[in-house]
Amino acid sequence: MLEFLQSGPVQSALLLSAAAALLCGALGLFTVLRGQAFAGHALADVSSAGGAGSLLFGISPLLGFLLFGVAGVAGLEILQPRRAAGRDEAAGILLGAGLGGTALLLHFCVTTHGAAGTAQAVMFGAMFSTPSDTALWSCLLAGGCLAVLALIARPLLLASLDEELARVAGVRLRALGLVFLLLLALGVTLAAMTVGAILATALLIGPAAAGLRLARGPLAAALLSMALGLAACWGGIVLAYESYGWIPGRTWPVSFFIVALLLLFYAAAGLRRRA
């Protein structure tokens, strides 16, 4: 166990996944309440183009993912109509264009650098190869985002549960929604670096859906969701580390363990509520 904790890649992975899990756990609660799971997923997929771009141009993955995540928010803001009906298709169109960009950048990665594993790294995460300074920056970023989220939590909760009432109370819905989308982009960016762009949604929605099933108040749900996310990530890392000897010559992907634990929590929460 001591050897496990002293390993540099494991330390970076623990830090990065903690940042992603805590931020996404809190953001996920609002995402589920606002019905924006697809938007969150689209942002993660768009940010993957940044991940591919950072590999191609040799810049920091955090910077690459972030740039495209924020570009994704701009795209959503332009594409999404005010009424709820067309939101789904707008998010889908953005997702398609973003993944198209990822496909092109990955194609350039493979043709210029000959790096065949890049698709896997961007799409399913590469947390054990994260540089330690990137992990530290991610923690700072997550802390900042959580502070902003705490500041807007009350009006955001009101706007998520009852838009009419929030408008009457003088909440500026559009500005608030935009700030939330930006935070969401930063959150799924961190999740994309941890478990990969296409699995980022699991870290965003899984803990929050389980938390909402169990907890009574919004604060309790948020704290529970953050704790469940953290438990799944750290548990997954430990399991992946232990799994090297299970079947000789075969590795078990860490993203699988994290997602499996999250789904297990969700299913257990359903049983517990029914009991």
């Binding site: 997923h41 998010a91 065949a116 896997q120 699991a202 075969r250 789904l263």
Partner: protein
């Protein structure tokens, strides 16, 4: 030369099925499900290769159980959250099976972005069946599919069963996409569904012309993407993804 003709034909067939399904996806507001369900091809193909089933059995089995699971979970949880969890489940199981069977990296790129140019002759009959059956099935069920999407209450009053329509629709979507994805990639299928479907739904007021227009647009988009990919040697998925967004934006600007 015949090899090239096969690729054009295969992509065209996938486009016809995707266009028809995409129109229904848009009117039923099931964009997220349309993104998640095709991913069933990933664990399906991976499990078949790991446990030694025939490929079609793995694909069909996982696609149908995915559709059933989604329909069930949608009844109890919020729809988009349920879809997100199903997507994560499918991808994580697929990643595990691939990782355990030992060939990982190439398959991931192929699943998402397609390997159209690696298409084999044996793929054509399967794609032919999908390209013809999906539009016909959806055309036959067009009325109940639209009604149950627009007003489930009205359908229930008339003695229909909206939940059965949802299961039917998800099953058709999962099967069609599940067999097309290993050939063309999830991104291509998804872009061909959503861009043309959304454009057709905005341009046409009634279902039948909408269905036809979506299929036409999808065919045009797919072949244009394929042609550009031939010329530039860039991935097809890039052109169809960006092209779908361009079609959608144009129609949005035109219809306001």
């Amino acid at each position: 030369m015949s090899y090239l003709v096969e690729i054009w034909l295969a992509v065209g067939l996938v486009a016809l099925a995707a266009g028809a399904a995409g129109y229904i996806v848009v009117i039923r507001r099931a964009g997220f499900a349309a993104h998640a369900l095709p991913m069933a091809a990933f664990p399906g193909a991976a499990a078949a290769s790991l446990f030694g089933f025939p490929l079609w059995a793995g694909l069909a089995g996982v696609a149908l159980s995915g559709a059933g699971l989604l329909a069930l979970v949608q009844r109890t949880a919020r729809r988009d959250a349920a879809t997100a969890l199903l997507l994560a489940l499918l991808l994580a199981v697929g990643a595990l099976c691939l990782s355990l069977s030992g060939h990982y990296a190439g398959s991931v790129y192929g699943l998402l972005f397609g390997q159209v140019f690696a298409l084999g002759t044996e793929d054509l009959p399967v794609l032919g069946v999908i390209g013809l059956c999906v539009p016909v099935l959806l055309f036959l069920a067009l009325r109940p599919l639209s009604l149950s999407a627009l007003s489930p209450e009205l359908m229930r009053v008339q003695g229909g069963r909206p939940f059965a329509m949802e299961v039917f629709f998800l099953a058709v979507l999962a099967l069609a996409a599940g067999f097309a994805v290993p050939v063309t990639g999830a991104l291509l299928v998804f872009s061909l569904m959503l861009g043309p479907g959304a454009a057709a739904a905005r341009l046409c007021g009634s279902p039948l012309p909408g269905l036809a227009l979506a299929m036409g647009l999808a065919l045009g988009l797919a072949w244009a993407g394929l042609g550009l990919a031939f010329l530039t040697d860039w991935p097809v998925g890039f052109f169809t993804g960006v092209g779908a967004a361009a079609i959608y934006l144009l129609v949005r600007v035109k219809t306001g």
